[in-house]
């Protein structure tokens, strides 16, 4: 029982995702908005798993989303005539995970030896670097990108392909969001989380205490990268059925992930969800009222948050409820 109680903070998360999914299924007209919100929740949660827990910012994070889209694209584009049916999607997800693991190992091997500013410098070009590798060496059609809607239709039939793009891709996103939340909580509640907390507070002290900080940083870095890869495979590749290196490696998603995590509160479990809802809804309405101004409005918001409320919404709320029964459920 006590073992289970450790994991009670997952309940509000499941509740939030359940309500979102329920609204989406009940009002098909709003499915696009719900899918967008779920994507932001998942992105925030995946980003937070590394940034929130370690205090390191990975400015090249979108590269993992990008290689993930290629995982799905490669699977459908090259294997569609092998009679695999829906297995293609599964292979796509596996490839996305493999690609993002590979890239995160390569980047992590250099970047995770470095600290603070140097880490940021090492990661800031990862998305651009990989984009230019794809374009320069003409890997996977290079700058021409891959369009595979025809391949997907041939492999699974028109109806199924349609359902995959319009609905199942988003359901997978929900799955990734839940997975990210569960992993975050599991990490928080065992050695990985404790080690990372120690490292975030004082890396030298943590090392002196005999904590293998590099090992735990790598664990968090790879997990966070794989989740991003899965998101790219589902929310981008499977949904849109095309991939262009110019689009998938754009720094936009990194900016959005940072905004979401800071709005909600870095290093908390519920934070990314709260941040994603605030950001998602504001972006949705801003797109109607002031199209094209979203980033111009949110970039100053980041500065205001870091200067005035570094704990974010959930961080502040957590302080408010300290000592009440709610405390067990909100972290």
């Amino acid at each position: 029982m006590r073992q289970l109680q450790k994991f009670s903070p997952i309940l509000p998360v499941i509740l939030a995702y359940g309500v979102l999914l329920g609204i989406g299924l009940a009002y098909p007209g709003k499915w696009q908005l719900i899918a967008q919100l779920a994507f932001y929740c998942a992105l925030g949660q995946a980003f937070n798993l590394f940034m929130g827990m370690t205090g390191y910012v990975d400015f090249g994070y979108v590269a993992f989303v990008g290689v993930g889209t290629y995982g799905m694209a490669v699977s459908i584009y090259y294997l569609y005539d092998k009679g695999l049916g829906l297995g293609l999607v599964l292979i796509g997800l596996v490839l996305a995970a493999v690609f993002s693991t590979g890239l995160s190992l390569a980047v992590g091997a250099v970047a995770l030896r470095l600290r603070g500013a140097y880490f940021a410098i090492a990661t800031i070009g990862v998305n651009e670097g990989f984009r230019y590798l794809v374009e320069g060496a003409r890997i996977w059609n290079g700058a021409d990108g891959m369009i595979f809607s025809r391949h997907l239709r041939k492999a699974v039939g028109r109806e199924t392909a349609m359902a995959l793009s319009t609905q199942w891709a988003d359901i997978v996103v929900f799955g990734v969001a839940v997975l990210a939340a569960v992993l975050t909580l599991v990490y928080m509640r065992n050695k990985v989380g404790y080690a990372l907390t120690a490292l975030r507070e004082d890396e030298d002290a943590a090392k002196v205490m005999g904590i293998n900080v590099t090992k735990y940083k790598i664990i968090a870095f790879i997990t966070s990268a794989v989740l991003a890869g899965l998101l790219g495979a589902s929310a981008w590749a499977l949904k849109l059925t095309y991939v262009y290196p110019e689009d998938v490696f754009q720094i936009h998603y990194t900016v959005e992930a940072i905004i979401i995590v800071l709005l909600g509160g870095a290093g908390t479990l519920l934070g990314p969800i709260v941040g994603a809802l605030i950001y998602g809804f504001s972006k949705y309405f801003l797109a109607i009222v002031l199209p094209g101004f979203q980033l111009l409005i949110f970039a100053p918001v980041i500065i205001v948050i870091i200067v005035l409320f570094p704990e974010g919404t959930v961080g502040i709320f957590k302080k408010k409820i300290r000592g009440t029964a709610l405390e067990k459920f909100i972290i």
Binding site: V126, E128, Y132, L295, I302
Partner: protein, 295 residues
Amino acid sequence: MIFEQLSGNLLQGVVLGGVYGMATMGLSLIFGVLKVVNVGHGAFIMVGAYVALILFQTLGIAPPLAVPVALILGMALGMLFYYTSIKKLLKGPELASLLATFSIGVILEEVCKQLFTSEARGYHWDLDKLDLGFTVLPYSKLIAFGGSILVGLLLYLWFHKTRAGMAMRSVVEDDEGARVCGINVDWEYALSFSIGIGLTVVSGVLLTMFIPVGINPYMGGGYTLKAFVIAVLGGLASPYGAFFGGLVFGLIENGSYTLFAQIPGLEPFAMTRFFSFVMLLVILLIRPTGLLRGK
């Protein structure tokens, strides 16, 4: 044939590299004094490029005359951002100042997008060309190169021959000690941030001589990456190191372009940019304190 092409490209590389070096001095100055990495560095270069473009197109002002305008605008922006955000974050974790400078970059990009649309633009400053036989150098590029060296020289003189410059150097050496000696360290921080940004915006003006049509609000990202490669080449905290790093980088960039162009099936332009990223990782792996610096 290839050697003639290579030597021509290398000479072009030195000329471009000098401007790259100057474009990185601001980054190194800010890191040296404040220990803040300006992740939005490229956005300030972009602002400089627009200053040159707008002054040239609307008022017909030649780019060298846009330099003082860019310097004043850049220093003003530097002061503005320093006092509204950076100052409050110096004591906080590194994460805070990184996110702040990153957001400043995004703000600048979005403001420029609203002002000038995201369409890529350019201008043509028609000057004569210097024909050397194996390569042709337009005088506009030579002026940019000369301007960069001049700026670097002025910065050196300012640091070594004036009291204000020496005060700033003392802050780099030991800010506690400088404080004890009666130097207003907070003001030195503000001033160096502002000068750093001013230099960066000026470099944007000079860089437009090398980019005939590529001026757009999002052009900065590539320059941020290049500036980081250059800065780690020369030692992150040293403006002069940055200058020499720039020369080396210009050589490597143009040299590798020529070589990649020999390999069929590769896009030399994109491969060069990929290569500069790989170079960054390799330098950080071997010697994060900078290759060009002594022990």
